[in-house]
Amino acid sequence: MILQKIRTENMYLYYGNKMALNNVSISIPEKQVTALIGPSGCGKSTFLRSLNRMNDLIDSVKIEGNIFVDDINIYDKNIDVVNLRKKVGMVFQKSNPFAKSIFDNVAYGPRINGNNNKSELKEIVEKSLRDAAIWDEVKDRLHDSAMGLSGGQQQRLCIARTLAVDPEIILMDEPASALDPISTSKIEELIFQLKENFTIVIVTHNMQQAARISDNTAFFYLGELIEYNKTKKIYTNPDKKQTEDYISGRFG
């Protein structure tokens, strides 16, 4: 039986008075890749960012309904956001390494958690970089600045940095949208490998990418979850006409 890692129930999200998510109920299975697709402004990124409470940073955001991670309501008053974010990591659209060395970038998470044991940090950094399929490219220059890496390498470094915190869920917000096709395919391969151990939720504008890498696809439109289904089903015979029109490029 497949475990449902994330579950939302009748979730509404407002920016001030503007409704951005309208009654979203979804169950996201463990150790699978779930893609969120839809035209710009449809709420998919907003939805993604509410799963690790990154929306908390925006003052005007108000959320109604429930979001459960492992059956724990993450908007409960007793929830420690910092711990939540360790469990639910995030990779962003623009690769955003810190202006530090490659090593220090990956060690950042463990260090803020109070781990200053040199040999342990070394181990974590190597493992994370290996898991992010970038170890071989950087192992000889771990103490060089991360800014000297190519865009694709930077993005894999950012994934390694996220892995170093040992999350269970990884949220990805268009992680390959700024990359060339070769870097993109490396990221896609990586995502495919990562789903062995992690639950991955990915926002993408690239329909073919969603089709290639995801197990489930959720189509958002105007803040509503229009259709949520197996990716194979969505791309061969979607239930909703809106989904069909969007994925076959008739609008959006």
Partner: protein
């Protein structure tokens, strides 16, 4: 949502594909009708024309294949578009086979005509005509995508197949009594077999159209007689 729908460049390609498949279907319809007419009237000239026209069918077949190939490569179709193009490829293939069988019938008219009286005994002309009207339904179905036609096709194809079997059995029985008819009877058996194949391919086309419209795969299902 509907007012946001836009015409894609891709839609022109799909329209072109649709037109070509319809043309192909008409062309094959002509081939089948003419082949059967030539068979029933022993019109050798018409038979020759059917044989010659086959290269038109072949050319169109290649054009449709290439168009589908291009759409796959360049447009990465999904959903209905994807199903439509997959089906077009299959339908195109089936139509081309039906066209081939029309030609094969035309090729066997000459030896067969010498024994007209013999063939009349088994109602081959009747059987051949039902195949023509079956194919007319297929042609309509390709043009209109009206699924009610598909059901007619399944139904009539079964009847034709059944009649073909019955006719074959009769011929075999005849051959056992009169050994001198073996040559003509064999020819006749081949023609019956070709008619049966046409019915069979017609069923395939109908299944492909259902796949386009409903997204359901209906082939390899046991269809009972009431269908």
């Amino acid at each position: 949502m509907s007012e946001m729908e836009k015409l894609r460049i891709f839609d022109n390609e799909l329209k072109k594909l649709n037109e070509r498949v319809i043309n192909m279907s008409h062309l094959v319809e002509e081939q089948v009708s003419n082949a059967i007419l030539a068979l029933n009237t022993c019109d050798m000239k018409l038979a020759k024309q059917v044989i010659e026209n086959d290269n038109m069918v072949d050319k169109l077949d290649i054009k449709i294949d290439k168009l589908c190939q291009n759409i796959f490569a360049l447009q990465q179709p999904v959903a209905t578009d994807l199903r439509y193009i997959i089906s077009s490829l299959k339908i195109n293939n089936d139509l081309e086979r039906i066209g081939d069988h029309a030609v094969n019938i035309a090729k066997r008219i000459e030896p067969f005509c010498n024994y007209m009286s013999f063939s009349k005994k088994f109602g081959i002309d009747e059987l051949a005509n039902t195949a023509v009207s079956l194919y007319k339904d297929v042609d309509q179905l390709i043009k209109t995508h009206q699924l009610v036609l598909a059901n007619d096709i399944f139904h009539n194809a079964l009847i034709i197949k059944d009649n073909c079997h019955k006719a074959s059995e009769k011929i075999i029985e005849e051959m056992m009594h009169q050994s001198e008819v073996i040559v003509v009877a064999t020819n006749l058996m081949i023609i019956i077999n070709l008619i049966e194949r046409i019915a069979s391919y017609s069923t395939n086309v109908a299944e492909a159209i259902i796949f386009v419209v409903e997204g359901k795969i209906v082939k390899h299902q046991k269809r009972n007689e009431e269908h």
